[in-house]
């Protein structure tokens, strides 16, 4: 069987999550690479007073700000996977993801924070994290009947309403959310058995793991969330090859036909909403805890649109696509910012063809015309935040028009090209 990766001799092999040797090897290497990222930093390996050890690799990734970015990629990936199950697999359009994320975050805060000015129970993470998913899942079950009754585009607007109703609730339930002014703080990532003083594992302070790995709090949080994300990836990927996943896809493709074939539409739509809301709730709790504070305005429509962008840019209905989408959407603002700063540097140095070219793009003062302004409020042109939004919107549009399969589609074409190389088909 060696050398014939697509020859399957059993159903299990055909349906495996990673069904070729290449996929298995590459996935393993990639996972190890991601896990090793914090160790690229000088001084991350070794004991003693002044350790200098590090793995060879791109050490900018191991800096705290990039680790934070990678951590938010993980969080948004979980949210994206959830929406992917609902929209990509079951075909139900939902703009209400931000509502479920907010719900999860506040459930986590109530359970995880010690009681103070706001409600809190001070329970450990192994309680608040799962429950932060379960409560939104229950609410998802309550919303789901609407999805059976109201279809297609009407559903999109109903779920839109959910976000606005949620926003109103968060503003007014200020004994839980802290209100618009102050917001509230969220529990830190610490593993405790119960309410004891000293946490078993502590992700929010610097420390040494296994006696040799010196990790900052960012690095620890990153590793924790990476492992958590892997769990959710396995759940999402596995769902696709179960009876439930196939039922979702049949509803997506033609709901009446699915029902004729014996798929209980009501039950499976409810299930899709529940699972998706579970993912959303957990990721909302993680997001709020990761940032540390949240205000009611965190959970607005734009967050939903961001998650939709992740699923669509990545490629609806595919797990690996959603992951690519999460990385793309989360890293994009940073890349735009760095690129603008680089252009600014080139313009200021004033050398070469690039300098005059970039000068046309950037506007640095009141009289200077340009697309992007680097002096907010003074120069004409879009500010960097607005530019982010515009590029964001254009990417959503562009992917839908030119590449409906998203990044996954691009990847598929690259892969198939090299699979058949040197033949083109």
């Amino acid at each position: 069987m060696r050398g014939r990766p697509l020859l399957y001799t059993s159903y299990e092999a055909d349906q495996a999550m990673l069904n070729t040797t290449t996929k298995r090897v590459m996935a393993f290497i990639f996972f190890v690479f991601l896990l090793a990222i914090p160790l690229f930093k000088v001084g991350s390996i070794g004991g003693g007073e002044d350790p200098m050890g590090a793995l060879p690799g791109p050490d900018f990734l191991a800096q705290d700000d990039w680790l934070k970015l990678l951590t938010s990629v993980c969080i948004f990936a979980i949210a994206g996977l959830g929406l992917n199950i609902l929209t990509g697999l079951a075909g139900q359009v939902s703009l209400g993801h931000a509502f479920f994320m907010g719900l999860g975050a506040y459930v986590a805060a109530v359970l995880g924070m010690p009681s103070g000015a706001l409600w809190g129970l001070g329970l450990p993470i192994w309680i608040w994290l799962p429950v932060a998913g379960l409560i939104p899942a229950l609410v998802g079950v309550l919303v789901a009947p609407t999805a059976v009754r109201v279809r297609g585009l009407y559903l999109a607007i109903v779920t839109l309403g959910l976000v606005f109703i949620g926003e109103y609730l968060w503003r007014n339930l200020d004994f839980i959310t802290g209100g618009s002014q102050s917001g509230r703080s969220h529990p830190e990532f610490e593993v405790r058995l119960w309410k004891e003083e000293q946490p078993l594992i502590d992700f929010s302070t610097e420390g040494t793991w296994f006696g040799v790995f010196n990790l900052s709090s960012e690095a620890k949080t990153y590793i924790f969330l990476l492992l958590l994300t892997v769990i959710f990836i396995v759940i999402a990927k596995n769902l696709q090859r179960t009876r439930v996943g196939r039922a979702f896809m049949s509803i997506r493709d033609r709901d009446i036909a699915a029902e004729v074939m014996g798929v209980n539409e009501f039950r499976y739509k409810t299930l899709a909403f529940a699972i998706s809301s579970f993912f959303a709730g957990v990721s909302g709790a993680l997001l709020a805890s990761f940032v540390g504070r949240s205000i009611p305005e965190t959970w607005i429509l734009f967050l939903s649109v961001q998650i939709i962008a992740i699923v669509l840019i990545g490629g609806a209905g595919t797990v690996s696509g959603t992951l690519m989408g999460a990385a793309f959407v989360t890293l994009l603002p940073r890349i735009i910012r760095d690129f603008t700063q680089w252009m600014q540097g080139v313009v200021q140095s004033g050398e070469g063809v690039l300098a005059s070219l970039f000068d046309l793009v950037l506007s640095t003062g009141p009289g200077d015309f340009g697309l992007v302004n680097t002096a907010a409020g003074v120069a004409p042109g879009l500010g960097i935040d607005q530019l982010n939004l515009v590029i964001y919107g254009l990417l959503i549009i562009g992917f839908l028009i030119f590449e409906p399969l998203g990044l996954y589609g691009i990847w598929l074409r690259i892969r198939n090209y090299w699979k058949g190389w040197p033949f083109t088909y």
């Binding site: 359009v93 009754r149 606005f164 109103y168 007014n172 919107g393």
Partner: protein
């Protein structure tokens, strides 16, 4: 202070009632304008336009641009009364909005013809982000006054006070509703109805479907712009247009869904119902509802109606075959 409790209270109650009626109708007519443009776009092109709020904001900004920032055409006609030059400025702005609406359709929506309705709806979500970001960048952090001739004046009818803006708004809304109703009886309007009914069959009859698409977006953008202007005027936003206008227009979605996505009558009725519900919700005396409850009333009304009538009050029920 003399003590005449019952009479005085009765009097204030009627006043309160009438005041809320005016407020609700004025709000409702804005929703109706937004919903009408939305429905025209939806009927003709089957596109659920999430960018409608952004179009409203863009239109209002165009008015501010021509009327106050560039001061066109008032700078060339210093002797003309304010209302003439302002109306001309609005007219220019509306023409510009019409053009931009057609342009947006041509660039972003036309390539999506024949794709899934959901995918096209998400494209308009992208258009919304782009248009809103650019408009908000132009508007900046301050409010932009629109330079309207009505100012803060009132007609005092004794039992209720009507702002001049509101009177103008009612008149214009009624005119536009009649205009849209009339438009659907013209040759182009019939072509649009045919396109809405069946795009391929309309094409086979020699209707330029693409042009109908453009036209519907142009009309939608104009109606949105008018709504945007009234959203940014005195009783609502005394300062003028700001970055919240686009956001406010989201509240028109319940009106649209309530009336049914594809019904003009529904748009008007839905808009008025939502407007009145929102304004009368301030009478609910329960303290625990907190602030901003009026803002979610539209969605609650929408949810209730949709659970009873899934295709809205006047919407066409989709017949589904396997």
């Amino acid at each position: 202070m003399p003590h005449i409790p019952i009479l005085a209270q009765a009097a204030t109650e009627t006043n309160e009632f009438a005041k809320l009626l005016v407020e609700g109708l004025s709000l409702g007519s804005i929703y109706a304008l937004l919903a009408m443009g939305f429905v025209i776009i939806f009927k003709a092109t089957q596109v659920l336009n999430f960018a409608h709020g952004a179009l409203a904001s863009l239109g209002a900004f165009l008015v501010a641009l021509f009327a106050t920032i560039w001061d066109i055409p008032a700078r060339w006609m210093p002797d003309a009364p304010v209302w003439v030059s302002w109306s001309l400025a609005v007219l220019i702005a509306l023409v510009a909005a019409f053009g931009l609406g057609m342009l947006l359709e041509r660039i972003f929506i036309r390539p999506m013809v024949g794709e899934e309705l959901f995918a096209v709806a998400i494209v308009t979500l992208g258009v919304d982000i782009v248009v809103r970001a650019i408009t908000n960048d132009f508007i900046g952090t301050d409010s932009r006054p629109l330079g309207d001739p009505w100012g803060t004046q009132f007609f005092d009818l004794g039992w209720v006070r009507l702002a001049h803006t509101e009177v103008a708004q009612f008149a214009i809304t009624i005119l536009l509703v009649i205009g849209v109703a009339w438009f659907f009886r013209t040759r182009t309007g019939i072509a649009m109805r045919a396109t809405a009914f069946d795009q391929e069959a309309a094409r086979a009859q020699g209707i330029a479907v693409g042009r109908i698409f453009s036209l519907s977006w142009g009309i939608g953008a104009v109606l949105a712009a008018v709504a945007g202007v009234f959203l940014s005027l005195f009783p609502r936003r005394p300062g003028g247009l700001d970055t919240q206008t686009a956001f406010f227009a989201f509240a028109a979605f319940p009106a649209i869904v309530l009336g049914g996505l594809d019904s003009i009558v529904g748009a008007v009725v839905g808009g008025l119902i939502i407007g009145l519900a929102q304004s009368y919700s301030s009478l609910i005396p329960w303290e625990f509802l907190g602030s901003g409850f009026g803002g979610v009333v539209p969605y609650i009304v929408m949810l209730i109606v949709l659970l009873i009538r899934p295709y809205g009050l006047f919407g066409t029920e989709e017949i589904r075959r396997v």
